[in-house]
């Protein structure tokens, strides 16, 4: 990111997205198209990453924007990051989809990543680079296996029981790892 598209560019991109979401809340269909143009590549990447299934990712993405159309009123324009709000909806819908598939075998993560080969929009402008870097740094302070547990829960939608099995530790141990790690993460994010 060069100086011209630095912080002020990111702030402006976020402000424009927030404004578009406000118009969506007022029932403006053209504004939803605007939101879609600005964010669909990012959200489709997330749907693909989590579902590991191209057809599934398309269905999830459709569902996400139809949901946003229905509930944009729930978006708080004072929120720092509208893209995080949207990305979290996409993540949650994708995890719900995955669970609804009965956790049938899907393509491994690498395959989904290979599909994600186009970057037509500069959505990185929308992302809060500072928050992203900070979270990444704080995750890096955790023990490796604890960080791995958080990432697998977050990206693969694994529950405690599934994490304990996947990482071959007792359920109680997994819970205490996770709780301790999450509290450390919060402390790191808030206090550096």
């Amino acid at each position: 990111m060069d100086d011209a598209t630095g912080k002020s560019g990111a702030d402006e991109a976020r402000a424009q997205l927030s404004a578009a979401l406000s118009r969506v809340a007022a029932g403006d269909r053209a504004a939803l198209r605007d939101v879609y143009e600005r964010t669909s590549a990012k959200l489709f990447g997330i749907c693909l990453r989590i579902s590991g299934d191209r057809q599934g990712a398309e269905d999830i993405l459709q569902d996400v924007y139809v949901s946003v159309w229905g509930r944009a009123g729930g978006f708080d324009t004072k929120r720092a990051s509208p893209i995080t709000w949207l990305a979290t909806i996409a993540r949650n819908r994708a995890i719900d989809w995955k669970r609804a598939q009965g956790r049938r075998q899907v393509e491994p993560v690498e395959a989904a990543m290979q599909l994600a080969d186009e970057r037509p929009l500069a959505t990185e402008l929308l992302l809060a680079e500072e928050e992203r870097g900070r979270l990444s740094d704080c995750l890096g302070t955790l023990e490796d296996r604890h960080e791995e547990a958080i990432r697998r829960a977050f990206f693969d939608g694994l529950t405690y029981a599934e994490l304990a099995q996947a990482m071959a530790v007792p359920l109680g141990t997994m819970k205490s790892w996770m709780r301790r790690s999450l509290m450390r993460l919060k402390d790191c994010l808030e206090n550096g």
Partner: protein, 234 residues
């Protein structure tokens, strides 16, 4: 012998719910807590904000050009109340997508796994909060499994003169089944007959349409859908 587990603090529980690691009864309890306690609900939301930036690392991918027209078709207003095709398309989308429509319940519902067992032995089994697209709840429906009854309590359900609100159950197959008319101003106990019982699951959506007095003449919704909401196991 396993050591007894320490119960999670509210802080920990909020983080666990946002991350999505809870399952079954633990998750149900956390979700109930979220509904009952706004402070806890805000903490869950704060955790979603904290964890959300992880998604920034996921590479972009262009969706196919055909996707926007699909979305546009779903959100397009029905040409007329008789346009059953569009109406049905909308219903199907509501059936799969309405989870997120219930704005005030939305955060809680986002984490509801679709494969959660629908009926828990200790039941009061489920609730659905029915919301209008850009408004809050207009109606609450609580499923009383022991009596096969939905107890329907309207909050604000405006109904034009000469029209009747009809309640619909939309199970996983997306086809609306009429549950009959409801009282727009007071509580109604809607008894579910045996053939519909298997369709009352966590997969189902409830919706209200405004029909001619006496109910839909066709057995399918003909009037505008004014509110909908997904069932949630509690």
């Amino acid at each position: 012998m396993a050591e007894p587990e320490e119960p999670a603090t509210d802080q920990e529980l909020a983080a666990e719910l946002a991350l999505g690691v809870l399952d079954g009864a633990e998750r149900a309890a956390a979700e109930r807590h979220m509904l009952a306690d706004p402070v806890f609900a805000r903490e869950v939301e704060a955790w979603r904000e904290r964890l959300g930036p992880m998604l920034a690392a996921v590479p972009d991918a262009a969706p196919p050009k055909t996707l926007w027209p699909r979305i546009e078709a779903v959100i397009a207003p029905a040409a007329s109340v008789d346009d059953v095709v569009v109406q049905m398309q909308r219903w199907r989308t509501l059936a799969v997508g309405s989870m997120a429509l219930a704005a005030s319940l939305g955060a809680f519902l986002l984490f509801r796994p679709a494969d959660m067992p629908a009926l828990q032995p200790e039941g009061p089994a489920m609730v659905a909060q029915l919301s209008a697209e850009n408004a809050g709840a207009v109606l609450l429906a609580a499923w009383h499994q022991d009596r096969s009854v939905f107890r329907v309590t309207p909050a604000a359900l405006p109904v034009p003169a000469g029209r009747s609100p009809e309640l619909w159950l939309i199970p996983a197959d997306g086809r609306p089944r009429s549950l009959g008319l409801i009282n727009p101003t007071g509580q109604t106990d809607v008894v579910i007959n045996a053939e519909l019982l298997p369709l009352v699951t966590g997969e189902a959506t409830l919706a209200i349409s405004i029909e001619p007095r006496g109910g839909s003449p066709t057995g399918q919704p003909t009037g505008p859908v004014v509110a909908s909401g997904k069932m949630s196991v509690i």
